[in-house]
């Protein structure tokens, strides 16, 4: 495959946006920052791809408004996925593989605070048989959490330990929304959201955006001191109905991780889209990540969960670890759909010194 690197990353604060702001207004400084850090001019960007969801914005064609941030004049080569920005990154990476363009701007964004996320995400379910049950994403996650606890012998304290660790890590992340020096005991005192998940095991409702710039070949080394090279990138989906899956494993993550070569060499840092604490158990197992791997040093989605940008933020955070010289091999993960239905894995590596 052609060598492509993440050369810059920027993200927006994830507290809720003023109701007077558009999604484009939230995106604008983020895209501008990612561009500035890349050192590339706008006219050097060969392809632009974004990810967002009309239903979060509560408006059809919401992404058309986001085109404003690209300054699409003269016209640009551009595309959009109705998916997390991580899949926009995938589309851009694929485009770069064909060799027609050498750089790409990717962004993802969403304002979850304007609607009722638990109601909105119900609309992802099979419209004929599942959606009418109004089984929201928290309830479905709780179903999976129960299955995981039953299968592994782990308990609610194990979940609370994960959530508390994420919350503590997030103290150092200026973009985190929920951070505190808490213990598992603190979180076990919180009420259930949907048993066995307590409120601390569930992500906050976040607004946010993320942007990255991809550059192919040696040009990446010219614009970035420590380019984060994409060494493996793959994504897989599995059956929609939770009842058709073994909820105690994440088969699509395993397949994507294998295809991305996760196990070829040790991973230093993994940023996982584990928006519920039990999902970290599932994803660690599916990706074969041992205790030595630093998982979600940013705090992960339990600290800030800007839906449609959460996955791209993970890849950006994983890249940042390499940009800053803190790690040599990292992993970013994105997910979509109820109970981790669809998963993307991106393996990044720095140049060997």
């Amino acid at each position: 495959m052609r060598d492509v690197a993440v050369v810059s990353f920027a993200q927006a604060p994830t507290s809720s946006t003023p109701v007077s702001d558009t999604e484009a207004q939230m995106l604008f400084p983020v895209v501008a920052e990612a561009m500035e850090r890349s050192g590339l001019r706008r006219d050097e960007i060969g392809f632009t791809c974004s990810g967002s969801a009309d239903y979060l914005a509560g408006q059809s064609f919401a992404f058309v408004g986001n085109l404003e941030v690209t300054g699409a004049w003269p016209p640009i080569s551009e595309s959009h996925v109705e998916m997390d920005g991580a899949w926009a990154l995938y589309e851009a990476w694929v485009h770069l593989q064909s060799g027609h363009v050498d750089s790409a701007l990717v962004f993802g964004s969403g304002i979850s605070s304007r609607g009722d996320l638990r109601e909105v995400l119900c609309l992802q379910n099979d419209p004929y048989y599942l959606m009418p049950l109004w089984a929201d994403h928290v309830s479905l996650a709780a179903l999976q959490a129960r299955a995981v606890l039953d299968a592994t012998g782990k308990g609610e304290r194990d979940l609370a330990e994960i959530a508390a660790r994420c919350r503590r890590s997030a103290v150092a992340n200026p973009f985190a929304q929920r951070f505190a020096d808490v213990t598992a005991d603190d979180l076990l005192a919180e009420p259930y959201a949907v048993a066995p998940l307590r409120t601390g095991d569930c992500p906050p409702v976040s607004d946010g955006a993320a942007a990255v710039v991809l550059v192919a070949g040696d040009r990446a080394r010219e614009v970035c001191e420590h380019p984060a090279w994409i060494r493996g990138l793959d994504h897989r989906i599995e059956p929609h109905y939770p009842g058709l899956r073994d909820l105690t494993v994440s088969e699509s993550t395993r397949l994507a991780g294998e295809a991305a070569g996760v196990g070829d060499r040790p991973i230093d840092v993994a940023e996982l889209s584990s928006s519920f604490s039990h999902e970290e158990l599932l994803l660690r197992a599916a990706l074969g990540l041992g205790d030595a791997v630093d998982v979600n040093p940013s705090g992960g989605p339990l600290a800030a969960n800007p839906v449609m940008a959460t996955g791209l933020t993970r890849i950006g955070e994983a890249a940042r670890q390499i940009h800053d010289g803190h790690a040599t091999r990292t992993l970013g993960h994105a997910t979509s759909g109820p109970c981790l239905q669809q998963n993307l894995v991106c393996v990044l590596e720095g140049d060997r010194s």
Partner: protein
């Protein structure tokens, strides 16, 4: 160098007002199954699935790829969902082709759809707010602007409508069929959005379209003729700003110039044997003829008037009956791309243009600001 890409399978549903005999999944599966059958493949032969549809609000299902994964045999595979407004069917096919040309996958199934009967498109087009003028209301002033600028006679729009509706009679999958169509009928049909009359407008359809794309080895191995990809392009521009020309948008011109450059097309009217372009209202035929470089600015309508865009003319346009005859919005772009493939492969049946060597597929969307095109040929690049 990029891997070569071939279209080896094409399938579509019979497009109609209401497909209440199938679910959304059933509709897509029908088109996808036909494309696989045409490609002489089964679901397990496919490496990746790329789907496209217009806004989720049209059917009320958020990110429907999640629910559709099972029906499209995508379990354990990569699945992407593209959304670029009305051009989405074309963009979706391009994203699928990039998976091949980038050397990432070998056999890709791509499907685009709309089931307009499950929602209220005009409501959703208005951003989910009341008072939408619909697409026709939005584009009518642009059409009026074109007529004023080009001094085209009023009957040119009627001629496009008659031609596309006659072509639709040759296409078993077309939705709207008006057997006794005539200039008089179009002229007498009610004015919907001045200057667009009812018979100059597209219907609201349920339908889906699918294609199977392969790498060079797959194209070589296919027992039926393959359509070889010679270029793809997408262009987007802002929808509103002072000085923008919405009648012949620069994004459309740039998109055409890019795809012609890739395919080595220097004289479009002579180098291209047929074009299937996105004409939801009759006047967009002459408008796109100019925008895509088939005629000089202001002269596009003369191709229509001279009958050159009919089957048998110099540049047959929309031999399938076009969007004017079938408009499952999310699929409409892919139907254009698929018709180009069928014409190159010689599988277009009664609406086949003889000896097509080079065909162009085109789609547009948003405020005439999103464009997608591809060029297919009988020969490899």
């Amino acid at each position: 160098m990029a891997e070569r890409c071939a279209v080896v399978g094409v399938g579509q549903t019979h497009h109609t007002k209401v497909r209440d005999d199938v679910s959304l999944a059933g509709l897509l599966r029908e088109a996808a199954g036909r494309a696989l059958e045409d490609a002489e493949m089964t679901w397990s032969d496919i490496d990746a699935v790329v789907i496209g549809t217009a806004p989720d609000t049209f059917e009320g299902v958020m990110m429907p790829e999640l629910y559709l994964a099972d029906a499209l045999g995508a379990s354990g595979k990569p699945m992407l969902r593209v959304h670029t407004a009305g051009s989405v069917g074309g963009s979706t096919a391009i994203v699928a082709s990039n998976l091949i040309t980038g050397g990432v996958r070998k056999r890709v199934l791509t499907v685009a759809f709309e089931k307009q009967s499950e929602g209220d498109t005009t409501w959703a087009l208005g951003g989910g707010r009341s008072g939408s003028v619909g697409a026709g209301g939005y584009f009518a002033p642009h059409i009026r602007g074109y007529i004023d600028r080009s001094k085209a006679p009023e009957y040119v729009g009627w001629m496009v409508a008659v031609k596309d509706r006659k072509n639709a009679l040759l296409n078993p999958y077309a939705h709207l069929k008006v057997p006794d169509i005539s200039l008089e009928m179009v002229k007498e049909s009610p004015m919907v959005w001045d200057p667009v009359r009812r018979l100059e407008s597209c219907p609201a359809s349920d339908g889906a379209c699918a294609m199977v794309l392969t790498d060079e080895a797959g194209g070589d191995a296919a027992s039926k003729p393959a359509a070889w990809l010679h270029g793809t392009a997408m262009r987007s521009e802002l929808g509103q700003f002072p000085g923008r020309d919405p009648i012949s948008p620069k994004a459309g011109q740039d998109c055409a110039a890019d795809v012609y450059r890739q395919a080595g097309i220097t004289d479009p009217i002579n180098d291209v044997d047929m074009v299937e372009c996105y004409v939801p209202f009759s006047w967009y035929e002459p408008m796109w003829m100019e925008n895509l470089g088939f005629a000089a600015l202001g002269d596009g309508w003369k191709l229509t008037e001279d009958g050159e865009t009919e089957i048998g003319g110099k540049l047959p346009v929309n031999c399938s009956g076009g969007v004017l005859s079938s408009n499952p919005i999310g699929a409409s772009g892919m139907l254009r791309f698929a018709e180009a493939a069928m014409q190159v492969r010689g599988t277009a049946g009664e609406h086949q243009v003889p000896d097509v060597r080079t065909a162009v597929g085109h789609a547009y969307g948003g405020a005439a600001q999103y464009f997608a095109m591809w060029v297919l040929r009988t020969e490899k690049p």
